[in-house]
């Protein structure tokens, strides 16, 4: 699993993805910087896949316990992150919608 060939592949992928990250993020509209933060938060919680395997394989009690907490933490980020990003983005409207009474 930790062969040097895998590491080299990983390095290539890291570099390419970092490049894409810079190119893409630099072009995110400043209007959306706050939703961007919560979205990347949700995406970053993809670490859940590592935790799922730990829990599922149940190789030791420690790994299962750590994995379980990790699954809970990451899942809450996924759910919370997508939810709030969606809520924020829903608020961005381009022209004025049928005047909804402003909240009190």
């Amino acid at each position: 699993m930790n062969s040097s060939s895998n590491l080299i592949n990983a390095l290539f992928i890291f570099v390419l993805a970092g490049f894409i990250g810079f190119e893409v993020i630099r072009r995110v509209s400043p209007l959306l910087h706050t939703p961007l933060m919560s979205l990347t938060n949700a995406l970053d919680a993809i670490a859940v896949v590592g935790a799922i395997v730990l829990v599922g394989e149940h190789k030791s009690t420690l790994s299962a316990v750590f994995g379980f907490i990790a699954v809970v933490a990451a899942t809450s980020n996924i759910v919370g992150g997508f939810l709030i990003t969606d809520r924020m983005l829903k608020m961005f409207k381009s022209s004025r919608p049928a005047a909804k009474p402003a909240a009190k």
């Binding site: 930790n2 590491l7 990983a10 890291f14 993805a17 990250g21 810079f22 993020i25 072009r27 995110v28 400043p30 209007l31 959306l32 910087h33 706050t34 939703p35 961007l36 933060m37 979205l39 990347t40 938060n41 995406l43 970053d44 919680a45 993809i46 670490a47 859940v48 896949v49 590592g50 799922i52 395997v53 829990v55 599922g56 149940h58 030791s60 790994s63 299962a64 994995g67 907490i69 990790a70 809970v72 933490a73 990451a74 899942t75 809450s76 996924i78 759910v79 919370g80 992150g81 939810l83 709030i84 990003t85 924020m88 983005l89 608020m91 961005f92 409207k93 022209s95 005047a99 402003a102």
Partner: protein, 465 residues
């Protein structure tokens, strides 16, 4: 993971590939509000595919515990997705802590499962993962605490602080190096993690609550990097990609913020901020200012043709955005052209003002970025500043001795009339005086933003409708 993969493994990898593409598209579509919603869907689908793929993993024997974890996470996540818009900064910090916690735990578990059979490179990456993860956990928790005002906002500094922090970090690195050479030394591992956790706390202690956004964004970058490191350890390409995307996002946002605040990025990177730059320069000359009542302000506004509203942190604190929307409606109904000038670091988070105003249903094509709107102030009848301070401080343009000298600002002082809603003459985040308030064309409207705007609106509609 042998060189020849099992069939299920190939399926998993292909699902991960699709998920990676969806994640990239997700961020790409954030480039404009019209496509941003697609971005969320792409992200969600990608996440779903990745999780489903992972469940196919052949070594998995215990699905029950996974299910419980996912359900529990969802239960915690839903309220975290429902917080008020004004609580978004601390929510973001909290979720960095959660993300980093996940990474740190997985890294630690992997260490104990594999030790002593860990190659040097792998152990280096693993240490990086755990140290970055650990400091992000406590650092983000501290940041969230300060923002939520559970912890004191005040920066806590003492002599030699930087040296202590540096030595602590050095300790962690020394342990890491030792572990790289002797991965069988299991007992040392917890110390490395603990030091990283302690370092996270100490890193944030000297930083004032107001400086948190930059720190949060930086911690975002760290969280991303540690996730990428985890990807190296688990040989998981999807994780590497997501981590790299998140890492660059955090870095870029901190760079944008530090540029807009006129701080060097290295200054931010090395945690040297928070050193209160100028202790409220306080040239207590009691210079005269002119103030006005809501009635007077309403009269001036309704006589104007072009109004630019400049919102700032005070609007967020007062939660005045809905009242501002009413003001916008009232003025627009009278034929006044109202636009909003958005400074990149107004508020306490990149894009803070946009989100609050969007929440109040103000169409985003009325929100104009600094560079675009600055040329329009001289042709503007009234610039109405609502709870903004530093981002309007003309000293940044003129006074070379000012700590914010050189920071790009909104040129509100060039409008025919400037009206500033704030509660007192107290300074803003940078702790410095604002010469704007003493100009001849400036009127101070003292009061809470929400209450004051409410009075203006009442005045406007009382007069007419």
């Amino acid at each position: 993971m042998t060189a020849e993969l099992a069939g299920s493994q190939v399926v998993i990898e292909l699902l991960y590939l699709v998920a990676s593409v969806l994640f990239i598209l997700s961020l790409k579509w954030m480039s404009s509000p019209t496509t941003a919603r697609h971005g969320i869907w792409a992200g969600e689908i990608g996440m779903l595919l990745a999780i489903c793929g992972t469940l196919l993993h052949h070594g998995i024997v215990d699905y029950r515990l996974i299910a419980i974890g996912l359900v529990l996470g969802t239960i915690i996540g839903v309220p975290l997705g429902r917080v008020k818009m004004t609580a978004v900064p601390q929510r973001t910090a909290l979720s960095h802590a959660f993300g980093a916690l996940c990474v740190t735990l997985v890294g630690s578990a992997e260490f104990y499962l594999r030790s002593p059979d860990i190659s040097r490179f792998m152990m280096s990456v693993l240490s990086l993962e755990v140290i970055l993860g650990g400091l992000t956990v406590t650092g983000s928790l501290m940041a969230a605490g300060k923002l939520q005002e559970i912890l004191p906002q005040r920066p806590l500094t003492y002599k030699g602080q930087n040296l202590v922090n540096f030595l602590l970090l050095a300790c962690a690195v020394v342990i890491a190096v030792f572990l790289v050479l002797h991965p069988e030394a299991k007992s040392l591992f917890p110390f490395m993690v603990l030091i990283a956790l302690a370092f996270g706390v100490l890193l944030i202690i000297p930083i004032g609550g107001a400086d948190m956004p930059t720190v949060i964004s930086l911690l975002n970058g760290y969280a991303g990097l540690s996730a990428a490191a985890m990807g190296f350890v688990l040989n998981n390409k999807l994780l590497i990609i997501a981590g790299a995307l998140d890492g660059s996002s955090g870095l870029i946002l901190s760079i944008i913020m530090s540029k807009a605040m006129n701080r060097s990025f290295t200054n931010v990177l090395f945690g040297a901020f928070g050193q209160v730059q100028a202790p409220a320069a306080a040239g207590e000359e009691a210079r005269p200012v002119r103030s006005a009542t809501p009635e007077e302000a309403a009269a001036i506004l309704s006589a104007a043709n072009k109004v630019i509203i400049v919102p700032g942190y005070g609007m967020a604190v007062a939660q005045a955005q809905h009242k501002v929307r009413e003001l916008y409606d009232a003025l627009t109904k009278r034929g006044v052209d109202v636009r909003f000038a958005i400074h990149p670091v107004a508020g306490r988070m990149p894009g803070h003002m946009n989100v609050l105003l969007a929440e109040a249903d103000i169409p985003y094509d009325r929100l104009i970025e600094m560079d675009e709107i600055n040329g329009d102030f001289p042709q503007t009848d009234v610039a109405l500043v609502i709870g903004a301070n530093d981002v309007t401080n003309p000293a940044a343009r003129t006074d070379a001795s000012s700590p914010i000298y050189g920071m790009p600002i909104l040129d509100v002082d060039k409008a025919h009339t400037v009206m500033v809603i704030k509660r007192s003459m107290n300074p803003g985040f940078a702790g410095i005086d604002n010469p704007l308030y003493y100009l001849d064309n400036t009127l101070m409207l003292f009061g809470d933003a929400k209450a004051f705007v409410g009075s203006i609106v009442r005045e406007l509609s009382g007069g007419h409708g």
